[in-house]
Every structure is written in structure tokens, then in C-alpha cells.
């Protein structure tokens, strides 16, 4: 199976803090790959690196064999038309209606006539079940609806790669179920390659073909959902079971509490 994205020996740090230390991973074409890990370890950063919004300190990121950090700006903008990203907040343009939000990438990048754009937008909205909401403003949508509109916008140009940033975060069980079903259906119907960044274990185990678990600046486990479930790594098991304390400590690093109370911390 061909790799759409290959990350080799990537090291990335921000404001002096190392976020990734020598990471390698592959995103296979036509598959759904999940990147999981506790919050605050920079999962979103990984997507921004893949999209070329951030540049790694060391190592390489290849999209279809072409190095993303090494691209010239114009080429990068061309390549970005083949990918799209679903942001955690949806990132809809608040000054446009739902319809115009979805029409936006079409109007920017194609020369389609307005009547074709109208058809395409309605089809995309129908796919996410929100054709009736075409004339609403983003402020009038619930969180789950906004994310579905953002999903419709993300697939407007029929990209090859779609990156989901915490697609299930903060959703009620019903909209979570809707989103899981949608992501699955879209992948099967459009033959997309998907990267899902999340910490919602149960949802991911049902939709992912391959899973990477990130923690402590590196990959602590990878494999198919079956392999991950049966992993004997205590770190992976702590994450899957949601245990409060374990290899990932409950306490943020600090001096001992006795010292803190006695006031001779330094």
C-alpha cells in the first residue's frame, strides 16, 4: 500500500520546549489513520506540520514523495488544494451564510458557474444532512451542526487528504454518533485518506484502520485497533483505560508537598 504522507525522523520544538523528538510515521493512501494521545502533547501541531503551516527543526515530511518543508510558497499553496482540514472550532467564516461558506473554496479555486456551484454546495450539504440550513449564519448553528458544515466545506473541492482536528471533542452523544457515521461514510464513498487527531478512544477504535499513540514526545504504540487493544505497553493501556495515575503521572512535576508546605521549596 502506497504512503500518502511519510514523516521521517521529525523533531519539532516550540519556544524552547521539545514537542516531538525523532518521530517517524506513515499515512497510508485510502485509509483512516488516527493519531491519539493525551491533551497538550501537540496533536494539532502534527496536523499543522503536515499542512506546511509549521516547519520542523529536523527531519522531513513528504506528501506524495515531495518534501513539504522544502516546498516553495507557490507550490505549497498548490499542494494544499489537495488537502483539507477540519478545525476543532469549525472555523467557519462568521460573516457568511452556511451556503457561502461552502461555496467559498469553489469560488476561490475554480471557474465554475454560479448554477453549478449552487448544485455542488447543495449536494455537499445534503451529504452532511444540513441542506435545510443553507441560509443560516454560523452563529445560529449548534456546535455539532457547525462541525458538519465545516466538514461539508472541507470536502467541497474533493480533496485527497482530509485532516480532522478533534472531530468529536465536546459533542453530545447524538452528534458524536452522527459525526462518526459521516466520517466513515465519506471515507468509503470518496476513497479519501483521513488523518484523525483525537483522544476519544472508543470512537476512534471503530473508524481507524491504523492508530498511532503519541506521548512524551514520541510514539509509544502503533498498530491496527486490534493490536492496540492487545498491547502490553503499560502506557498504552493507561491511555485506553483512562486511568488517572500510571506511567503518565497524575501530578504535574513539582517538588515534594512537604517541602512546599515548609516553604524551602527552592
Amino acid at each position: 500500500m502506497e504512503n500518502l504522507i511519510e514523516i521521517n525522523n521529525l523533531t519539532f520544538s516550540r519556544s524552547g520546549r521539545i514537542i516531538y523528538d525523532d518521530i517517524s510515521l506513515q499515512i497510508k493512501k485510502g485509509k483512516t489513520t488516527a493519531i491519539m494521545g493525551p491533551s497538550g502533547i501537540g496533536k494539532t501541531t502534527m496536523l499543522r506540520l503536515m499542512g506546511g503551516q509549521l516547519v520542523p527543526d529536523k527531519g522531513d515530511i513528504k506528501f506524495k514523495g515531495e518534501s513539504i518543508p522544502g516546498m516553495r510558497r507557490n507550490r505549497l499553496y498548490e499542494v494544499r488544494r489537495q488537502m483539507s482540514m477540519l478545525f476543532q472550532s469549525g472555523a467557519l467564516f462568521t460573516d457568511m451564510t452556511v451556503f457561502d461558506n461552502i461555496a467559498f473554496p469553489l469560488r476561490e479555486h475554480t471557474k465554475l458557474s454560479e448554477s453549478i456551484i449552487h448544485t455542488v454546495v447543495l449536494l455537499k450539504l445534503q451529504a452532511v444532512g444540513l441542506r435545510g440550513a443553507a441560509d443560516l449564519m454560523p452563529a445560529e448553528l449548534s456546535g455539532g451542526m457547525a462541525r458538519r458544515v465545516a466538514l461539508a466545506r472541507a470536502i467541497a473541492l474533493d480533496p485527497e487528504l482530509i485532516m480532522y482536528d478533534e472531530p468529536f471533542g465536546g459533542q453530545d452523544p447524538i452528534s458524536m454518533g452522527v459525526l462518526v457515521k459521516l466520517i466513515k461514510a465519506l471515507n468509503d464513498a470518496l476513497q479519501l485518506t483521513s488523518v484523525v487527531v483525537t483522544h476519544d478512544v472508543t470512537e476512534v477504535l471503530t473508524i481507524a484502520d491504523y492508530i498511532y499513540i503519541l506521548a512524551e514526545k514520541r510514539i509509544i504504540g502503533s498498530g491496527t485497533p486490534e493490536q492496540i487493544k492487545n498491547s502490553d505497553s503499560p502506557l498504552v493501556q493507561q491511555f485506553l483505560q483512562g486511568e488517572a495515575d500510571g506511567p503518565v503521572p497524575f501530578h504535574y512535576p513539582a517538588s515534594s508537598i512537604a517541602q512546599a508546605f515548609l516553604g524551602n521549596e527552592s
Partner: protein
């Protein structure tokens, strides 16, 4: 020694900020302009920053003109020179008050709004999502706002001066009884097109450029949190007001200082 280290760090930080601001400006208006796509966006922004600032500009201009006339009259009348009220009001407005007061009002009314809007677009990931949709936010969001500011503020300054001169007429002629003919005719013979009107326009173009540059950059460079945006908005108003007053002195010295 510590203060020296702080000074150095502070200077480097400021220089870095200037670098980022110049980079933004370059990306927004110098690198590959796309006039056809930009025109409708710019017109929309002219409506937001220009047309919607009209009311505050007209009201302020009217009152400043009226106060100018009242103050000048009380001094001039002692020397029997109240006929010079027209040029007095017109010159003050065209050379100084028009460009400067408009710029200060513009910074508070439109500059702060620009910063807050762009900062919020950044906080809600709208700028990032434009980038990921292969649309350059510098050209799509920043450039139309920069142009709109540079185009509308000089017009606002002219409107301010014109309304101010009418305000001076209301107080000086209609209320205090200065002769209407001398108000207009001495003004006409004293005010010089190039020296007074054009120089005032040049001033307001410079101010407009500086204010919109600061406002868009502060929004674009803001830390995307509520404190970050509120700090950026405050800085826009403070920095652009100081820049306007400082630049006004330099420009005045260059234009009127050395004869």
C-alpha cells in the same frame, strides 16, 4: 548590568516585531497584487472603515470648527481683525486639525475595530483555515483592509475640514456677526492649494497608512486569547495615536518649517 540585558532584549524584541510587520506589509500589498479579486473586498471594507466613520467625523468637525471660530474671534476682535476669521479657521483645519484629529478619531473608531476583528479571526482559526484552503490570508483579509484605510481616511480628513469651515461660518458669521463676504473672500485669497490643501492631504495619507498598518498588524500578530486581543486593541490605539502626533511634527517641520 541587568538593565543593559533588559534593554538589549527589549530592543531585539522591538526590531523583530518591525521585521514581522514589514513582512506582513510586503506579503499583503507588494507581492503579486490581484486587483480584480481585491476590488469588491476593498469596497466592502471602505464601507466598514470609511462610511461607518462618517458620523463621528462630521460631528467632531462641526464642533471643532465652531470652537475654533469662537476662540479666534475673541482674540481677533481686540485688534479689529475679525475679518481674518475665515483664513484662521480654514488654515488651522486644513493644515493641522483636519488630518490630525481625523487620524486620532479614525484610530479609535476604525483602527481598534480592525485589530479586534482580525484578532478574533485568528483566535477562531479562520485565518488558519484560509491558509489550509490555499487562500493567502494576507491578500484576502489584510490587503483589502489596508487599502480601504488608506483610501478612506484622507477623504474623511477633507470632509472634517469642510464641515469645520462651515461650523466656523455658523458661529463667526451667523452668530457673532462677522461679514460673510470677508469670511469667504479672505479665506480664498489666503489659502494656497498646494501649500495648504495638498500638504494636508499628504499628511492624512501618511497617517492613514501608519494607522491601518499598525491596526492590521496588531490584529494579525495578536496572541489569540481574550487578553491577547484586548492588549492588541489597546496597543493599536496607543501606538497609532503616538505615531500620528510624532509624524505630524516631522511632516509640519518639513512642509512649513523651512521657508
Amino acid at each position: 548590568m541587568n538593565w543593559l540585558i533588559n534593554l538589549g532584549a527589549h530592543t531585539l524584541e522591538r526590531l523583530e516585531m518591525f521585521g514581522r510587520a514589514a513582512y506582513m506589509l510586503f506579503g499583503a500589498i507588494i507581492a503579486k497584487p490581484q486587483p480584480l479579486k481585491m476590488l469588491p473586498l476593498t469596497i466592502k471594507q471602505i464601507h466598514v472603515v470609511g462610511v461607518q466613520s462618517l458620523l463621528i467625523i462630521v460631528v467632531s468637525g462641526l464642533f471643532i470648527g465652531m470652537v475654533m471660530a469662537l476662540q479666534s474671534y475673541t482674540v481677533l476682535v481686540d485688534y479689529g481683525a475679525e475679518g481674518s476669521l475665515g483664513p484662521m479657521v480654514a488654515l488651522s483645519l486644513l493644515r493641522e486639525l483636519g488630518p490630525v484629529v481625523t487620524a486620532l478619531l479614525f484610530a479609535g473608531r476604525a483602527g481598534s475595530a480592525l485589530t479586534a476583528e482580525i484578532g478574533l479571526m485568528k483566535a477562531t482559526e479562520q485565518l488558519s483555515s484560509l491558509e489550509m484552503m490555499a487562500v493567502d490570508p494576507l491578500r484576502r483579509v489584510i490587503a483589502p483592509r489596508l487599502w480601504a484605510g488608506i483610501i478612506s481616511m484622507p477623504m474623511l480628513a477633507l470632509i472634517f475640514s469642510a464641515v469645520g469651515i462651515l461650523g466656523g461660518h455658523i458661529v463667526g458669521v451667523d452668530w457673532l456677526g462677522v461679514d460673510s463676504g470677508s469670511y469667504w473672500s479672505i479665506m480664498q485669497s489666503t489659502v494656497d492649494w498646494n501649500k495648504d490643501v495638498v500638504n494636508g492631504i499628504i499628511k492624512s495619507i501618511v497617517f492613514a497608512f501608519v494607522i491601518t498598518w499598525i491596526a492590521t498588524f496588531k490584529g494579525y500578530d495578536s496572541i489569540p486569547t481574550s487578553e491577547g486581543i484586548s492588549k492588541a486593541t489597546t496597543e493599536t490605539v496607543v501606538f497609532s495615536s503616538l505615531a500620528v502626533l510624532g509624524l505630524d511634527f516631522i511632516l509640519t517641520a518639513l512642509m512649513f518649517g523651512i521657508e
